[in-house]
Symmetry: C2
Subunit: 416 residues, 2 copies
């Protein structure tokens, strides 16, 4: 890439947009709680659309509420380059996870406007609906519907903790769109994101070139015991489902630790216990668990090891233990051409880089099944995310924003 | 006791009353869900009061909603003998826990009426408010207020899961009474209850003579970890509070098992986890735990052992673990005179008996601090309780009801 553009983003303007976003759903500890399709999400969406329209974009909303804001290209019949991420957050979320990728795209459009640059292809900013899955499960549902991995009716039927459906909530906030936005209209996707891990910061690298994704297995473990009074029931007559859950949790933890040097991770993240009352032995526990490894074959082996350990866990806890449902994602590699554009952009800009896999789930992983896709990571403070203390400085993100801009410009100007 | 009365309860009538109660809050599986101060509790209270008034009793309601129904004695200025238990149930409760003790008292009064017998002292049937603690904690709050171990204002302030206060709910169902019912008015208390354990059934004994109570320690363990994304956070950087909770649960379970041959028990019964979401490492767990042993000094040692193991549990789980609050009850012996009356009644009736300690908490344990008190246990099927499958036959309970009747008659006719 020797045609490096001389334009640069206005980092102060981008930071101001990020800080405006940080006011919408702000928590007492300075994080964000902007759950998908909440009032705050609606306020943020309207603010984003206003900014896009002020920047001259044409805004469309699809049936799942994904927002597409397109800046025209010189050749309007060519496919558009997608740039974006998500504006929703975790319950105790941070100010940058997802948001950086959307607003960096907006800054790219604003910068092109400042310089009167018209790219060959259109550029489309995207905000995916319900990436986090903190309110409606599964996560990344907007991109899953976009890529037809999930039916929109399935997405509409998802319920939050209060029994409200995603479909009704989408309609309530006015984002159940009617625009048919097909993946066929697009050329590629670039997603900029904070790393959500400590590696870039620890090794002093400015840009993460994301070449693919960890293999991920999620599963729900069910433990069946037997209830009874915590007083008179003798120990040998007990089947305390929380004891079974404890055995499961320690086994899962050990399986991750035994592969941690090659990047393995394992987590028991959620637990639901019945009857969960004083005086009663618990008889039913459901736990949602997660295993990840950079090598897809190893994450398969981790899950197999857990299954192989189930009989021993059952015997020790005297409970019935089974895997009730499971899912998988990741394990793929991003498009070599798009990744190479990112690599060349970073080299041309003289940034220090690290090639890495994403360990978290991202909409880009769904889109990668349909379109050439790449991701760019920025360092973040202490690797923290999904946490109100999540933090970056302008210095942390400026290299990534620059690389995003150069890679997207290059892609949007390519022939064919 | 050579003056054994020839009167016997009408077991068919008692069974009919128990089965009427079993309709009020009936669950699909044939158990009861009659939470304290619920609509069903109100219906049952009104039914009980109607029965008491039909049996000629004078009914009073105290400030905490305890119901006292007094049958006059020949010497009205003497102190009254209390007979009763509770009509509320667990969330997935059975048809006999507590209810048997109240309705057996009612049957006693009805039988005395049938035979035109007037005792020297009055006899007062009692239904204690919120024994189970399934809706408002702590359990046994009605007897705790009656014996002035808890202030009524404290009781009123207790909240259920929906944030409704005990005081407001008591007023709503019309049972915030204005009668001053002091413990000073009473001579003694007899409480008949199902064993809630398997010993009587296993050894083929008809009546349990309850001489005292297991020592009980309850405590809340708090585990503090650190949240973060379940993907990128490396295993060595994690503090998963559910891993700490698992270590605690297995340690507590081991401590009970190591004393189970002398009657020790230990339980993790309730868990609350934050943020308890997909994608986030849990950073906060609270568990409510329980330890019991017949020997008060051993239950003290069990809790000390747990405290001594905390540093190792913290080290292994990398979490901060502490005991946030704790409470104790039981460990006392019932009144020798009242217990002896029970023993003599059973002997005179030629029943097989077993002397035992109660392993569950009962209102009688609070009352025993103020009045001479005794408890009588009946066998129950498989020792199950706090369970919709809880069951007894008339043959299981008839000996206990007879013993209750004879012991109460004897006490109510004693001089002095």
């Amino acid at each position: 890439m020797n045609r490096l553009s001389n334009i640069r983003p206005n980092m102060s303007r981008l930071w101001a947009s990020l800080m405006r976003s940080a006011e919408i759903g702000k928590t007492a500890k300075g994080g964000l709680r902007r759950l998908a399709l909440s009032e705050d999400d609606a306020v943020m969406r309207h603010e984003f659309i206003r900014w896009c329209e002020e920047a001259g974009c044409d805004v469309r909303i699809d049936a799942i509420g994904n927002i597409f804001a397109t800046r025209k290209g010189a050749e309007p019949d060519t496919k558009s380059v997608l740039v974006g991420s998500h504006l929703d957050t975790q319950v105790h979320g941070g100010r940058f996870d997802g948001i950086l990728g959307v607003l960096a795209g907006l800054e790219l459009v604003r910068t092109l406007n400042d310089h009167g640059i018209v790219t060959k292809r259109p550029i489309t900013l995207v905000n995916w609906t319900n990436e986090e899955g903190a309110r409606f499960e599964p996560p990344m549902i907007g991109s899953a519907v976009f890529t037809r991995q999930k039916a929109v009716e399935f997405a509409y039927s998802r319920l939050d903790r209060d029994g409200l459906s995603l479909g009704d909530e989408l309609a309530r906030i006015g984002f159940k769109g009617t625009d048919a936005v097909s993946a066929d209209r697009f050329d590629s996707l670039f997603e900029l994101h904070i790393e959500q891990g400590p590696r870039l910061e620890a090794e002093g690298k400015q840009v993460g070139i994301v070449t693919g994704a960890f293999g991920v297995r999620g599963f729900v473990v069910e433990v069946l015991g037997e209830t009874g009074h915590v007083g008179p029931t003798p120990m040998p007559a007990r089947k305390n489902a929380l004891v079974g859950a404890a055995e499961v949790t320690l086994a899962i933890n050990e399986i991750g630790w035994s592969r941690h040097e090659t990047g393995g991770k394992s987590t028991t993240m959620r637990i639901r216990t019945e009857p969960n009352l004083l005086g009663a032995i618990p008889d039913h526990v459901e736990m949602t668990c997660d295993m990840r490894h950079p090598d897809e074959s190893v994450v398969i082996a981790m899950l197999e090891e857990f299954k192989a350990r189930l009989p021993a866990l059952q015997e020790r806890s005297r409970c019935e233990i089974s895997i009730k449902e499971s899912w998988s994602y990741g394990g793929m590699r991003f498009d070599a051409g798009c990744v190479d554009l990112v690599r060349q952009s970073a080299e041309a800009l003289r940034y220090s880089t690290m090639e890495m896999l994403t360990e978290a789930g991202h909409d880009a992983m769904h889109v990668a099944e349909y379109l050439p896709t790449a991701m760019i990571f920025t360092p973040c403070e202490d690797g923290l995310s999904h946490n109100e203390a999540e933090n970056v400085t302008i210095a942390d993100i400026e290299p990534g924003v620059n690389v995003l801009m150069q890679a997207v410009l290059e892609r949007a100007n390519r022939s064919g």
